[in-house]
Subunit: 467 residues, 2 copies
């Protein structure tokens, strides 16, 4: 009954109506709270409003004015919602800028003549010389193949064309198994003497839209121009290479890397009523790529996190431990926010019990990945009935997410919100990641799932395994 | 090993590659088959092509030329895929036609003047007199309220405005609890002397798009004009009634009911290798409403059913019992196809062991509703691991669907494909039910789930409960 005492009158009204629903299933206090959260969430549908506001500033690439706007916007939002200790934690972030010129042309096809390819520079790509460069294309399917070919790639454009496995229904796993080509392919190609790299977009959608993302060059590596090609473009390239042998591509990119820029992680919380320095963290990232709107990646996660805390706040639920929302900066191309957070002076004396990240889009929730062992997994499972009405009752072992992994290495239990994942890589890092691709009810359900799990973790800590 | 003998060589190759995947989880023959089905499905993605072809003929309202085209199109498709005993079973269907005139105006608002409302005639609606009718609007929230108001509704337009419960995450249940207003509201209002009925669209999406659907008048009931109003329109009507007291609406509809038209159920199968007259039926309906494209309702179900049978066929899987695809005609406004099927002369000597219906849209599959008792439910649960890779492993008690319910009453086990249901009623029966609302991978996953369950049922019959 302790929890009841913390309630305001208005919550009591909400609970009474929730009770009417819950009575069908032998109500318990936990179920009543979960039911009150779901009722309020689905009646108000505020997550989509939060997301609309976030995407309204434009794409939020690290270091851009739009990213700065998003930082200030969400700080104000947290304040307006009455979150506590709302503040910014400064982080220097890289500033890569897509140039006005992005062009790729097949120039020597005997059958088709000159053919444009739909491309987008990869984040971190170098520019071509002004006027572009033209070179022979060599298709490869792995980094190992590039290393084997070695100096035979001198002066060439290396074309990485290994597709995501369409038969792997865990699309995040399929993505993870293909994305090395984008992240490290261009640098490895440069080491072999290539003048540029083209990478098959890492996507599940067969259309003419290229999907960007980060490519990483180590300090001692030559930064070459690198771009993602749409699947239709990649298939055409590959077909022409088979049919005509020699394919030459003219590539022109004017992107550049500028000096670092100040940014910040945005932090707000509901301070715990008994153990305020024990934290349950809700994490998402505020930055996005500069194509589309970053509506799913990770505007949706930001909306989830803010809305979850708003639901708890407005229901008057102040758990034993602190529930904190952190919107990380620079997840996409540097993870500077994630690395800065555990080292910030504010962390002194704080213990992070658990962290839950939402960075898989705003689709219907399915459950949570658990970065612990099966003992923890089984213990968490007892809360599955609270999440079942949302369809979010599926706990599986797996990583929490990029932004909370430094906390995980320090011993925090990390969890990740799992959502229906069939559509995510259709839009991810592309011009199609826009607001209309997000369904308001699915988004809201994710926020409710986060709120329920965060509340229980903050109230009970990590549940002990059943005996 | 018996099943293995039925395999063609090409299947063996597919199985070998499937095996490589399945070995991670102690492979069993069942898992290999399921895995082969999933691999083939996700590699080929044919369901979306089938759906594209079906919606290309236009909306398929019963009795329309487009519905006739869809019958012939899918018959040919089944033949081209090599299904066996492909044939049509004739059914006479009703022919209701939306007229060229659909207009509703609030005509007496003191503050807004004349305001158009977004409406769509309900299927089965009568026409207004030429030039329309104008009457006072009375808002009600239930059929019971109409009966209570009785003669006070004489000459009025009855406006049914009870919303779908947004907090009920089982959207099909929420729909079921609101749809009586549309199905029977107009007739009950007519009995009370009303001149017309407006019904709040039964949808989860708050926009200005009206959602049609059937309204039913018994033979002795007066057929009045009846239309669905968009949620924005309904909210405006309701607000003006509160603020201004009197609201008069001018309504003009030119729809009409013509004489019945010949149509047909489309039937094809893979004949069982040992028990050919024992049937596992896959069901969907070919007709749709005349707004949008009926892409989810139930083009998706038709694509599921055809694709499921195609997958089994091309994998060379001929189970012990017959697996039959039936595309029913006239589900939306008469269920004549569903009633005709069990009475057709072809049924003589046939036993329908189980029937699985797909009529909940082409979203990511979640599992199956089971129209039996918990013993059957628990027995089916043992196949859940085969469906888990698709996320379709959730068996719950519930109805199979409208088209197979006559079979259910004759003792057939009825099942319904459950899919992620948050978005379905956003588009259902509206102009938004179009191809781009369907995701090709989600659609394909549903087809694979159907194929796996149908194959096991046809091979083993209804599994006995564990002891």
């Amino acid at each position: 009954m302790k929890q009841i005492r913390a309630l305001t009158f208005s919550v009591f009204a909400a609970l009474l109506s929730a009770l009417a629903v819950a009575t069908a299933q032998t109500p318990s206090t936990h179920q009543e709270f979960a039911s009150a959260i779901i009722q309020k969430a689905m009646r108000e549908n505020r997550a989509i409003k939060i997301l609309e506001r976030i995407v309204s500033v434009g794409p939020r690439l690290s270091g851009s004015p739009e990213a700065a706007a998003a930082v200030e916007l969400t700080r104000q939002m947290m304040q307006d919602f009455g979150f506590e200790k709302v503040h910014l934690e400064p982080v220097q972030v890289p500033r890569w800028v897509r140039g006005p010129v992005e062009k790729a042309l097949i120039v020597n096809s005997r059958t088709l003549g000159t053919v444009p390819l739909a491309i987008t520079a990869l984040g971190g790509s170098g520019a071509t010389p002004t006027g572009g460069l033209t070179a022979e294309v060599v298709e490869v399917h792995s980094l190992a193949e590039v290393r084997e070919l070695g100096s035979r790639l001198q002066g060439k454009i290396v074309f990485f064309n290994r597709p995501m496995d369409p038969t792997d229904l865990e699309t995040f796993r399929a993505y993870g198994r293909a994305v090395d080509q984008r992240v490290r392919g261009p640098a490895v190609a440069a080491r072999a003497g290539a003048v540029a790299a083209l990478v098959r977009s890492v996507t599940t959608r067969h259309d003419n839209v290229p999907h960007t993302g980060v490519t990483i060059f180590a300090k001692d590596e030559r930064v070459v121009p690198a771009a993602a090609v749409s699947l239709q473009g990649a298939d055409l390239l590959s077909q022409l290479l088979k049919e005509e042998g020699s394919v030459r591509v003219h590539l022109e990119l004017s992107c550049s890397t500028l000096t670092d820029v100040p940014s910040a992680n945005v932090v707000g919380q509901i301070t715990g009523r008994e153990l305020p320095r024990e934290i349950v963290l809700l994490a998402a990232h505020l930055d996005s790529w500069d194509v589309g709107q970053g509506a799913h990646d990770d505007g949706a996660g930001c909306a989830h996190v803010i809305e979850a805390l708003r639901l708890l706040k407005e229901l008057g639920l102040r758990p034993k431990r602190t529930v904190r929302a952190v919107l990380f900066t620079n997840e996409e191309n540097g993870s500077r926010g994630a690395r800065a957070y555990p080292r910030a002076p504010q962390r002194r004396g704080e213990v992070h019990v658990a962290a839950i990240e939402s960075d898989r889009g705003g689709f219907a929730p399915r459950g949570f990945t658990v970065g612990g062992d099966s003992t923890v997994l089984n213990a968490l499972q007892r809360w599955a009935p609270l999440l079942a009405p949302l369809g979010a009752d599926h706990f599986t072992l797996g990583g929490g997410g990029a932004d909370i992994s430094p906390l995980g290495r320090n011993g925090t239990l990390t969890l990740g919100l799992k959502v229906e994942c069939a559509r995510y890589f259709d839009v991810h890092h592309s011009a199609n990641d826009v607001l209309p691709a997000v369904n308001e009810r699915e988004l809201e359900m994710g926020a409710a799932a986060l709120a329920i799990l965060a509340y229980r973790l903050a109230e009970e800590g990590i549940p002990a395994a059943r005996k």
